[in-house]
């Protein structure tokens, strides 16, 4: 069966490890990689009037930059390797969006990396991995 693997990817070393892990699984099962990049965003943050005015154009810029910088390079690699893949770029809370993308794509698994935050750090700032484990609609793999 050709399952879909949602990979949270932000260009970091740990995300890279997660991707490699996912590539192995996908190749073994003949699955598809859904590369997901989340631009962290809260609709409840506070902006100055100037930022309000520029928000729409900034968003376009950020999307283009993300597409270009992170996604096209990795996507090219996956294409070269002959792995079926999709690219998703979304705004929002990382854990929430990964869960939503998994649901939309009927994915079999979500795979993310972690950068080894200290327990205290995670307690104070929260961690994507922690939140994802609590909320994910499908099994989750966290690659250390």
């Amino acid at each position: 069966m050709s399952g879909k693997f949602v990979v949270g990817y932000d260009g970091s070393v740990s995300a890279r490890r997660a991707l490699e892990f996912a590539v192995d699984r996908a190749r073994a099962q003949g699955g598809t990689i859904v590369l997901t990049h989340v631009l962290e965003w809260s609709p409840y943050s506070f902006l100055t009037p100037q930022e309000l005015e520029e928000r729409h154009s900034r968003r376009k810029e950020e999307m283009t930059r993300a597409e270009k910088a992170i996604m096209t390079t990795v996507k090219a690699e996956l294409d070269d390797a002959g792995l079926p893949n999709e690219v998703v770029i979304r705004y929002g809370n990382t854990a929430e969006i990964l869960g939503r993308v998994a649901k939309e794509h009927n994915a079999v698994q979500i795979i993310i990396g972690r950068d080894g935050q200290s327990a205290l750090g995670a307690r104070v700032f929260g961690s994507v991995a922690g939140a994802l484990v609590q909320t994910a609609p499908v099994p989750c793999t966290i690659v250390p």
């Binding site: 609709p43 506070f46 009037p49 100037q50 930022e51 309000l52 520029e54 928000r55 154009s57 705004y91």
Partner: protein, 517 residues
């Protein structure tokens, strides 16, 4: 915001301050006097025109203008402010926002930004002036006017979004100048352009005055009240430097910090007020009794019931800026397919500003017993200056400070910090409103915009350094002149809003517009 009633009390405080080191400052004072003289001679007619009273009363016609406008919109839209509150809150929560629009300006953000421009010194100091003159009864009229003002906001912010300009690079610009021009043209009415130009001129003047000099001046008064007296230009230069860094240097970090701290301060302020009210829980019934009784009898205040009514109406109008048109500029950046949704959201603004925050200030002052009553008659004791006598003789911001301090001794320090931050965020908001009016008149362009921004920063220093009463009077007048122009426009354009409202409501009912998961 914080306007005129307050600047009177302020001028008095300023005079007291100036007279102490008068000798050393004689020269500087005479320069100030000269500037004041020249300025008041050339602009006095305008100030007295805007703030003139109805013959034989001390009721300023501009207050009536705002309240009548609010009443007309309330009736025309069938008490929209009460019918739509539930839907407004759902919109702010994001229930109706398309998740694919994440990353765009949300309803919440537009509301929060507009609020940071209106919640300010007026809520803290201006209310103290209103209650200090009009007694507890002023609170009742203030709340009533705040509730009516919600309809004015609804009208202007819907139009702000509907007729905004969207540029090819994705930026948006909106506000009364745009809806006056485009809306009038659409209805085939003449004069839209003239109104828009007038509005822009008043908006620039108001931004430099009430949105800038007045704020700087107040912030300095607060700081020097805590650390001791020192020259105002020092505060001015520091403030101007920070403002410069934000609006010219594009230093987002400062703005970001302020934008995060200001709402927090607002919550702390309201929270503390609630705690103080609860600490005096046994007085709550009495306080509301005073508010209702005072509203209809005056309880001995100058002018009786009418005196209380004037003060309350004035404070609400000056504080939430409903009908002035400034908020329409901030609200117009929201991402929505339906302009009317921003109208729904914006009507929460006068509610939060006036009905919640202003009322808290008033309740704390009343409940902590700052206002002195005659033990025999139960009426308030009024001094020669027409103000109710207070325990320590304070008025304005120091009355609020004393009221909070009587229950929580260290709160005045937090309050001072809040005042400074509110002043700063109001300045940032108004620098933007002024800039939009400026670019409407002179066109967009980096140099043109830079000229305005530098002028704005210079006025920060002037505002903090000098005791320019007439200048501040003039800028107050300019802000209310904005309301004259804006509300005329709203009367002509309100059928357009009605059409939007009916269409939206029917689609909401039929289920065509529904919540997103």
């Amino acid at each position: 915001m914080n306007r005129n009633a307050f600047s009177a009390a302020l001028a008095a405080a300023g005079l007291a301050l100036m007279s102490a080191p008068a000798f050393a400052q004689e020269q500087a004072a005479s320069l100030d006097d000269k500037v004041n003289q020249i300025f008041s001679n050339s602009t006095g007619w305008f100030v007295s025109l805007i703030f003139s009273n109805f013959p034989g009363t001390n009721f300023p016609w501009i207050v009536a203008w705002l309240v009548i406008g609010a009443t007309v919109f309330t009736l025309y839209f069938g008490f929209i402010q009460f019918r739509a509150v539930g839907h407004s809150i759902a919109l702010v929560k994001g229930d109706y926002s398309d998740p694919n629009d994440a990353g765009e300006v949300s309803h919440f953000q537009a509301l929060a930004t507009a609020l940071s421009g209106t919640v300010g010194l007026g809520n803290i100091a201006g209310v103290a002036v209103a209650v200090g003159i009009g007694g507890p009864g002023a609170t009742f009229w203030m709340i009533l006017a705040g509730l009516m003002g919600m309809a004015s906001k609804f009208t202007e912010c819907t139009l702000g979004v509907k007729y905004r300009n969207e540029y090819p690079d994705g930026r948006v610009s909106g506000g009364p100048m745009y809806y006056l021009t485009k809306g009038f043209a659409e209805r085939g009415l003449p004069g839209g352009k003239i109104l828009a130009v007038l509005f822009s001129i008043f908006c620039i003047l108001g931004a430099l005055g009430g949105g800038n000099m007045f704020q700087a001046n107040q912030a300095h008064q607060q700081i020097s009240g805590i650390v001791g007296d020192y020259p105002g230009w020092i505060t001015g230069v520091i403030f101007a430097g920070v403002v410069f860094a934000v609006i010219v240097g594009g230093l987002k970090s400062i703005a970001k910090v302020t934008e995060k701290v200001v709402p927090f301060m607002g919550i702390v302020y309201v929270g503390t007020a609630l705690i103080i009210i609860l600490m005096n829980a046994d007085q709550i019934g009495w306080a509301f009794g005073q508010i209702f009784e005072g509203a209809f009898t005056g309880l001995g205040v100058a002018g009786g019931m009418v005196g209380a009514l004037i003060q309350g109406f004035k404070r609400a109008a000056f504080s939430n800026e409903a009908g002035v048109g400034s908020a329409a500029i901030a609200h117009s950046a929201v991402r929505t397919k339906e302009p009317i949704t921003e109208g729904f959201v914006s009507l929460l603004e006068p509610f939060i500003d006036t009905v919640v925050v202003c009322t808290m200030t008033a309740l704390v002052i009343i409940i902590t017993g700052q206002l002195m009553t005659d033990p025999e008659t139960g009426l308030y004791l009024v001094g020669d200056n027409g103000m109710i006598k207070t325990i320590d003789g304070s008025s304005g911001v120091s009355l609020t400070s004393a009221a909070f301090g009587s229950s929580i001794s260290w709160f005045p320090y937090i309050l001072a910090l809040a005042v400074v931050l509110f002043a700063f965020s109001t300045m940032i908001s108004w620098s933007y409103y002024g800039l939009k009016a400026w670019t409407y008149l002179f066109g967009e362009g980096e140099t043109k915009e830079l000229v305005f921004k530098i002028i704005f920063c210079i006025f920060v220093v002037i505002g903090a350094a000098a005791n320019l009463g007439p200048v501040i009077d003039f800028s107050d007048a300019a802000i209310f002149a904005m309301a004259v122009v804006n509300i005329i426009g709203l009367y002509f354009l309100m059928p357009i809003v009605k059409r939007e409202l009916n269409s939206y409501m029917s689609r909401l009912k039929s289920g065509e517009i529904k919540k997103f998961e």
